[in-house]
């Protein structure tokens, strides 16, 4: 098995920060490009809705919502539903595959999700097939308010498949570099060091309920 190399000192193997001039452990000089290429590596966890439980849901709830090889997420009220894998990490790739059955649904991936007491924070990506657009944001929320800062404004992209077609939204995180890919194409790269560690998972919402989405799979991988 190969260790992570995207943000690893080539001399001592210690973890490095993006754009750090030297390794913090062996002081070897480091050189960086404009960004780092984040390549998915070994699988950490995978939820295939044909057989597995949707992360964050109980087996019973998943079974009740199962439709063939997908899990239906239905909205009768305006809200965000989300779920994460149990294993937290700094650097990982999360990909969510699903279908929005109407033009009101948003499907997304979230990264570095932490809930402490009533507060929660995470990076989140949305795709909105109804308008074939995507966005990337960071969220710090409490029951009283959800503070959202947009990292990439809503932007229309032909890579977002339309309503009724399968979409795969993928968020790759390595140190402060975040890559958003839609159906395998990189649509946004952001450097943001705010949140460094947490859980990875899926999320869904509806612009105007009622709305239904089908989640087919959620996959979490290391970076190489």
């Amino acid at each position: 098995m190969r260790g992570p190399h995207t943000l690893q000192c080539e001399v001592c193997g210690g973890p490095t920060q993006f754009r750090a001039p030297r390794c913090g452990y062996c002081h070897a000089p480091l050189t960086w490009g404009a960004t780092v290429e984040i390549v998915p590596g070994d699988e950490i966890a995978r939820a295939d809705m044909a057989r597995d439980t949707l992360p964050g849901w109980s087996p019973e709830a998943t079974a009740a919502a199962r439709r063939g090889d997908a899990c239906a997420v239905e909205f009768k009220h305006a809200m965000v539903k989300l779920g994460t894998f149990a294993t937290p990490a700094c650097d990982a790739c999360i990909s969510v595959s699903g279908v929005c059955l109407d033009d009101q649904g948003n499907l997304g991936a979230l990264a570095r999700y932490v809930r402490e007491g009533a507060a929660q924070s995470y990076y989140g990506a949305w795709i909105h097939p109804g308008r074939r657009r995507f966005t990337l944001e960071r969220v710090l929320g409490t029951p009283q308010s959800a503070e959202i800062e947009v990292l990439t404004e809503w932007e229309v992209s032909g890579h977002v498949a339309p309503v009724g077609a399968l979409n795969r939204v993928e968020l790759r995180c390595a140190d402060s570099v975040l890559d958003l890919l839609v159906n395998g194409e990189r649509v946004a790269t952001v450097v943001d060091a705010r949140f460094g560690f947490g859980h990875f998972g899926w999320r869904a919402s509806s612009v105007t309920p009622p709305s239904t989405l089908l989640v087919h799979s959620v996959e979490l991988r290391h970076i190489r």
């Binding site: 260790g3 193997g13 700094c90």
Partner: protein, 235 residues
């Protein structure tokens, strides 16, 4: 392939690996298994130094008088008073950085008050994320916490109140340094390294000061900060 658990996040760790693939902590292997290796953090180039005996804190007036908070500049520094069960942070907003060393020297005048330095304080809308390294001189204890939130703040102890003889009692000055580099957070009290911990929750933000009151009668409590010095962490 042998696997053990990461001493920081408890995820499985492949024997001989230089770092955890989940929390990115650097590890060293010996007969007993993996142990965390912290980088040596030294204060480097000074970014800002504010002598509160001679100047007001950035963004604050020389004298503030409110019902729950007062502050005034004295020959000994900025004297702060808070009513009971309050907290006030004084971030240096112009200095936003990832790796930072924050140093202050302050004196508690009343039992029950605690204070120190903050690092990586970053706003999101009306909410904030913060690391805070504090001492409570009355009990001669220190702690390192991270907080999230706005109108409601969730405080999580990374290192809960820990007794240390390095902490000077009420009425005597305490010099605190919090240095952060990547996920490594290291704290010194009066020149003694008291904590080194790995926490990757927050990666960037402003340094500053923090003063809190608890377990106090309605009269509140006060302390005097002599200054704040922010440095880059030496590479």
């Amino acid at each position: 392939m042998n696997e053990m658990n990461c001493p920081a996040c408890s995820a499985s760790l492949t024997t001989g690996s230089a770092s955890c693939r989940f929390c990115r902590v650097a590890v060293r292997w010996d007969a007993s298994g993996p142990t965390i290796v912290h980088p040596e953090l030294r204060a480097g180039v000074a970014i800002c130094s504010i002598d509160l005996r001679r100047e007001a804190f950035p963004g604050e007036q020389e004298r503030v008088t409110l019902e729950t908070f007062t502050a005034e500049r004295t020959p000994h520094g900025a004297k702060v008073w808070l009513s009971a069960d309050r907290a006030r942070t004084f971030p240096v907003w112009g200095v936003r950085m990832r790796d930072q060393s924050v140093r202050t020297r302050w004196t508690a005048h009343d039992p029950g008050v605690y204070g120190g330095v903050v690092a990586r304080r970053e706003p999101i809308g009306k909410a904030y994320t913060t690391y805070a390294f504090q001492v409570r001189p009355e009990d001669r204890v220190f702690r390192l916490v991270r907080t999230r939130g706005g109108s409601v703040v969730e405080c999580t102890a990374i290192v809960d109140w820990t007794p240390s003889s390095a902490v000077a009692p009420t009425g005597h000055p305490n010099e605190l340094v919090l240095a952060a580099r990547g996920g490594s957070l290291q704290g010194w009290v009066n020149g003694v390294g008291v904590t080194a911990i790995h926490d990757h929750s927050f990666g960037i933000g402003a340094p500053g000061l923090i003063f809190e009151t608890s377990r106090l009668p309605a009269t509140g409590g006060s302390g005097t900060f002599e200054g704040i010095e922010v440095c880059m962490v030496d590479q």
